[in-house]
């Protein structure tokens, strides 16, 4: 079997693509790469389009090799990857919606993000004006005796993002769940195209607000790779601090919210207090509760406040004092565990096939962590473990978060112990790229690996940028995990996945 670099060697290497190679390949290599994904040898990291090209990012986990294969000059069509590898299906439907490129042989020809409301087709390709009257959408059939359907959304009952869920149920039991997403599509990739790096970073940081640090970091790393900017050591460590604070805040929120969806409000209240304390510490240290716009190309926008290190030490002490008793409370409340154990099981084989990251993948046996593979600073010098379990149920997804909280606290402490001095930014907001280049980055957000790919133009702007949320490879698995569960357990399962709507819809 040829390795990824041998396969890419069959194409034309693209100069100035960093840190991993990109090659323009002939159609048969594109197809053989898709077949290799089907075999489970490689993992699909992303699949995105341009006006006249498609790109597929692939990871060979065993060899720790990553690369991008591209097809160019398409005549409006390209061979479908989804016909071999189902995780690509929604990504291809998106390529068709945004660029008007037809995936030939694709198993699902329905639109995905395009609801017929934009007033135009193929907004990033060869645009065509249409009336924005809305398209009818054909949900998949589920036929059988005494089945009934429950449509939910896009406006949901809680304070959550919009999306539509179509349940087909037999009595209480879910026979099929079909998601329809795209309601919060904002056109981020089109807004970034042609923007200067500072504005593009602000947009990237608002792809999914709960992961604003991770997105800003992925975007910044891609810019720095493309333009070969060296980031000062202090900035690298401050980025690590922010990323772990973001992970802590989200995990506290999620652990509490999952318990709340099992009607156990006490955990929710106490986890909510811990989350608020993390956000207040973030505000005191970096000047923004969610740390928006703090990670920027070239470094960080704000140095740690003078009293910041002491504030973070206080925070980790509080967590050490408070969190273990909450974990005990979770673990020893039989009525709560009764709801979470054995509920919403995601089979490890599916998690592997979809290259599913974050706590969803880790709870189903896939221990992937972008901080380790391919890995980036400052994590190479830090000690931490990536927990993983095999059970794949709601309980396992809670438990992975619990262990990750402990790991993140330890990471914050380690970073504080070794925080170097010096400058925190290599280039400022006025910086514009002088020469063309392409960059790729894979960053571990709280819900999994975020991929950022971009091309800097010689004219000082970001010509094209693609951001792939971890949810792309998690949303489809929620449909699988809920099957055979009761409708009333859907909120619990959904919260345990906590996929991003905004990050997915772009």
């Amino acid at each position: 079997m040829p390795t990824l670099s041998e396969v890419m060697g069959q194409g034309r290497p693209v100069q100035g693509h960093r840190p991993w190679p990109r090659a323009v390949v002939p159609g048969e290599v594109w197809i053989s790469t898709a077949e290799r994904l089907k075999d489970g040898r490689w993992t699909l990291l992303g699949l995105w389009g341009e006006r006249n090209a498609v790109h597929m990012a692939v990871l060979d986990e065993s060899r720790r090799e990553a690369g991008v294969v591209s097809l160019e000059v398409l005549a409006g069509r390209f061979p479908s990857v989804g016909q071999f590898h189902p995780p690509a299906i929604r990504l291809e439907r998106t390529i068709k919606d945004l660029f008007g490129l037809e995936p030939e042989g694709a198993p699902d020809a329905r639109p995905w993000l395009d609801h017929g409301r934009w007033g135009l087709r193929a907004p990033l390709g060869i645009k065509a004006a249409v009336e924005a009257t809305g398209d009818a959408y054909a949900f998949l059939a589920a036929e059988g005796e005494s089945l009934h359907q429950i449509p939910v959304g896009p406006v949901h009952a809680g304070i959550i993002e919009p999306g539509h869920f179509r349940f087909t149920a037999s009595g209480e039991t879910v026979v099929r769940l079909e998601e329809r997403l795209g309601y919060v599509h904002k056109g981020i990739e089109s807004l970034i195209a042609g923007a200067d790096p500072a504005r593009a970073a602000r947009l990237a940081g608002r792809t999914s607000g709960d992961s604003t640090v991770a997105y800003a970091l992925a975007f910044a790393q891609a810019v720095e790779a493309a333009a070969e900017i060296a980031v000062p050591a202090r900035a690298v460590h401050l980025r690590g601090l922010m990323a772990e604070l973001e992970r802590l805040a989200n995990h506290f929120g999620d652990i509490g919210a999952v318990c709340n969806d099992a009607a156990f409000a006490l955990m929710h209240a106490h986890c909510g207090v811990l989350r608020e304390q993390v956000l207040r510490a973030a505000d005191a240290c970096f000047g923004h509760r969610l740390m928006m716009d703090r990670v920027v190309p070239g470094g960080v926008a704000a140095d740690l406040a003078p009293e910041g290190a002491a504030r973070l030490r206080d925070l980790t002490r509080t967590i050490h004092a408070r969190f273990p008793e909450l974990v005990d409370l979770y673990d020893n409340t039989a009525s709560l565990k009764d709801r979470t154990v054995g509920t919403g099981i995601l089979a490890p084989a599916l998690a592997r096939q979809f290259g599913c990251g974050g706590f969803v993948g880790r709870a189903s046996g896939r221990a992937f962590d972008a901080r380790k593979t391919p890995g980036y600073a400052p994590y190479g010098d830090l000690r931490f473990e990536t927990p993983h379990l095999e059970a794949g149920d709601v309980n396992a997804r809670v438990w992975v978060r619990v262990v990750e909280v402990k790991q993140s606290v330890a990471l914050v402490e380690q970073i504080l112990d070794r925080l170097p001095g010096g400058p925190v930014r290599a280039v400022d907001d006025a910086w514009r790229p002088e020469r063309a280049g392409e960059g790729l980055a894979l960053v571990e957000g709280f819900r999994g690996d975020i991929l950022a790919w971009l091309r800097l133009g010689g004219g000082g702007v970001v010509e094209r940028c693609h951001l792939r949320d971890p949810s792309w490879f998690q949303w489809p698995l929620l449909e699988a995990a809920i099957e055979g569960n009761i409708v009333a357990d859907f909120p619990l399962c959904n919260k345990s996945f906590n996929c991003s709507y905004s990050g997915h819809d772009l």
Partner: protein, 172 residues
């Protein structure tokens, strides 16, 4: 569990003093609120949150209003699950084209008297997403807005200040 509950009983509460009702918000409301509607509702409002395309940052801070530090319900403000039960629609996001109809229908499903509070810079004028083919750009482009609470995202304290202003005016 008993230990945790007991500790909570003997500890001082985490809940903090409310901020003053936001002065700018009061001024905006003074022009819009109908005297009769205020008298009917008193000091209790039910809020239905609608995400019309936000990045979910605003939702995180709206969620925080329910935590022990801000404890929104002590003011008679509470989140409800249906627009049919709501007096206030709390709308976030630049209103995506794909959410426009859902927002209009939610507004129509809310019985009067009702108020619309637009939360965040996106809900004000589209924010960083203004000008996109996929965004309408600001909640007031779709439904009438009574109060804007700016910020990206607004902090829970700013949200509380705005909502308290609404409450004071609705009770006048």
């Amino acid at each position: 569990m008993r230990k945790i509950i007991f500790k909570s009983l003997v500890q001082a509460p985490l809940t903090e003093k409310p901020p003053a009702a936001d002065a700018a918000a009061l001024a905006e409301l003074a022009q819009r609120l109908d005297q009769a509607a205020r008298q009917r509702l008193g000091r209790s409002l039910s809020i239905r949150q609608v995400d019309a395309g936000s990045c979910n940052g605003c939702e995180l801070e709206i969620h925080a209003l329910n935590n022990a530090f801000y404890d929104l319900e002590r003011f008679g403000l509470r989140f409800v699950a249906s627009p049919r039960h709501a007096d206030v629609l709390l709308v976030t996001g630049p209103v995506t084209a794909n959410m426009r109809e859902a927002l209009e229908r939610t507004y129509r499903a809310t019985p009067g008297p009702k108020w619309v509070v637009a939360v965040g810079d996106c809900a004000f004028d589209g924010g960083v997403f203004a000008g996109s083919y996929a965004c309408v750009g600001g909640v007031s482009a779709v439904v009438p807005v009574d109060l804007h609470i700016r910020g990206c995202p607004p902090s829970p304290t700013a949200l509380l200040g705005g909502l308290l202003a609404l409450l004071e005016h609705s009770a006048e």
